[in-house]
């Protein structure tokens, strides 16, 4: 793979074929055996909570700077309302930064892309909550964007955040830290993940209902963002094609795992809310029941860690990504409760 500053011999940048691995998932009737667990770097000493909350503060600061209020005020307020919402865990940007640092990248190189991921994530959530979509009047315990600002403004806020994310990457990524070829790959990756065969497809299939499998919908709706976040971090740091594919499978597994566990946690809440979600969206709990959803979660945990096992040469730099997997499954602490 050879790049020149002027592309002449190759008709286009080389983008390794992104196969879309169907996460092999067996709905087993017995618990997974742990006898084949490889020797892994211990994560028990790693303080994920401090690592994560520190990053959240940095990312919040940069997001605040990226969307200053100016004329016309309402659109900026609507964008900030969702992007800077309290309770946001910043999972996509944190995963991006961690993946970048894993391969020796500087987090300063990753921050603009990390912010862009959060903008795009917020945009998709704003649109998902609209009355014509999931029709959610609230998000994270607060009024949804369209409840606060009206449907038209919410649509425009989402519309503004997508290009703002791309622009932020181009205008803020330090060129001395990230070669231009990598930036272009990051933009292509985000565009693909969010687009008509990615998250948009997942949301559409979720709303359409019908025979679409829960596996496929969950991979598209939630796996894509995890995959994209991890891959972008790797691209920024110059990871190899094989390493990128590992990140792709890792990120996808963690993204879906996170949602499966969310669904299980919601089972414990108000029955009325559960019935509403069961009727509207596809979840493993709704499709298979809690016990089998737990097996799926453990399977995804194992898959995600297996991908990281192939990156053992990076030593302790891989620990944050391991820790995310356990956090997604176990939720050992709270994050995203920081004041803005």
């Amino acid at each position: 793979m050879v790049f020149s500053t002027v592309i002449t011999s190759s008709p286009q940048l080389h983008f390794p074929k992104t196969s879309f691995p169907i996460i092999q998932r067996a709905i087993r009737t017995c618990s997974a055996s742990l006898s084949t667990t490889p020797q892994r770097i211990s994560t028990s000493q790693f303080d994920l909570k401090t690592y994560w909350t520190t990053l959240i503060q940095e990312i919040n600061h940069k997001l605040d700077e990226a969307i200053p209020v100016q004329y016309p005020q309402q659109i900026y307020e609507a964008m900030r309302y969702s992007v800077l919402a309290k309770g946001a865990k910043r999972s996509p940007p944190v995963m991006c930064v961690a993946a970048c640092e894993l391969f020796g990248g500087n987090r300063l190189a990753a921050f603009p892309t990390a912010c862009a991921l959060e903008m795009v994530h917020a945009a998709s959530l704003i649109h998902d909550d609209l009355p014509c979509m999931d029709d959610d009047p609230s998000r994270r315990g607060q009024p949804s964007n369209h409840t606060m600002f009206g449907v038209d403004m919410a649509i425009l806020a989402g519309d503004a955040l997508f290009p703002l994310g791309f622009r932020h990457i181009v205008s803020h990524t330090p060129t001395d830290l990230v070669p231009q070829t990598r930036l272009l790959k990051v933009i292509a990756e985000i565009a693909r993940a969010v687009g008509s065969t990615g998250m948009a497809a997942g949301q559409f299939l979720d709303l359409e209902g019908g025979l679409n499998g829960v596996d496929f919908v969950q991979e598209k709706k939630y796996g894509e963002m995890g995959e994209c976040s991890a891959v972008c971090g790797g691209l920024l740091a110059g990871a190899s094609d094989e390493e990128i594919q590992r990140l792709r499978r890792y990120g996808r597994a963690v993204g879906v795992l996170y949602q499966v566990v969310n669904d299980m946690l919601e089972v414990k809440t108000d029955k009325e809310i559960n019935d509403k979600k069961k009727n509207k969206s596809k979840s493993y709990v709704a499709a298979y029941g809690v016990d089998k959803a737990m097996e799926v979660a453990e399977d995804l945990r194992a898959q995600a860690k297996k991908e990281l096992d192939g990156l053992e040469e990076y030593g302790e730099k891989v620990v944050p990504l391991y820790s995310f997997v356990d956090y997604a499954a176990d939720r050992g602490f709270s994050v995203g409760d920081q004041a803005q």
């Binding site: 008709p11 945009a123 997508f162 272009l184 693909r192 687009g195 948009a200 359409e208």
Partner: protein, 198 residues
Amino acid sequence: MLQKINAVNKVLDAVVPLRNPTKIHEAMRYSFLSGGKRICSIVCIAFVDGNESIAMPSACALEMVHAACLMHDYLSCTDSDDLRRWKPSNHKVFGEYVIVLAGCALVTCAFEHIVTTIVGVKLEKILRVIGELARLIGLEGVVVGQVDDLESGGQDQSDMGFEKLEYIHFHKTTAALEASAIAGAMLEKKSVAITCMT
């Protein structure tokens, strides 16, 4: 000019093929394959000295984002237009939620198209085109024009004041042409002093 329009249409037809999920892609294609003067793409190509091969990815991307902006513009909660070019508006044919998703998908497809297909252009210029396109379809262009239009409510244009009216039209409409010209000028091999159109 007709030749250029046909060339643009041919590429657009190939860039967004019908694939799964079919309905989203049908909605995307319905917008930009249902006629159109292709002013954005023609302007872009013209600014690259008519060099189609260099300009085409950006020209098509401009048509895609223009179509996306119009799709959301015609939604019932914004400008509420049920007809476009005497045909049912996209949201009337496919439903609002499909249009919300398809519009965003068209925008991201446009950026992906530029990055993955542009040929014979320095990487720095490609990034500049991306940045300019993002700027002018977002918070310095179409979106803020639409916001101001919305906030004017049902106000008659004659009551609006010239400055307000100019702001709306400049950002809603002219920004797209500005993006087309700037993208073309940036791609042009010669250094060109680019100033904003007013």
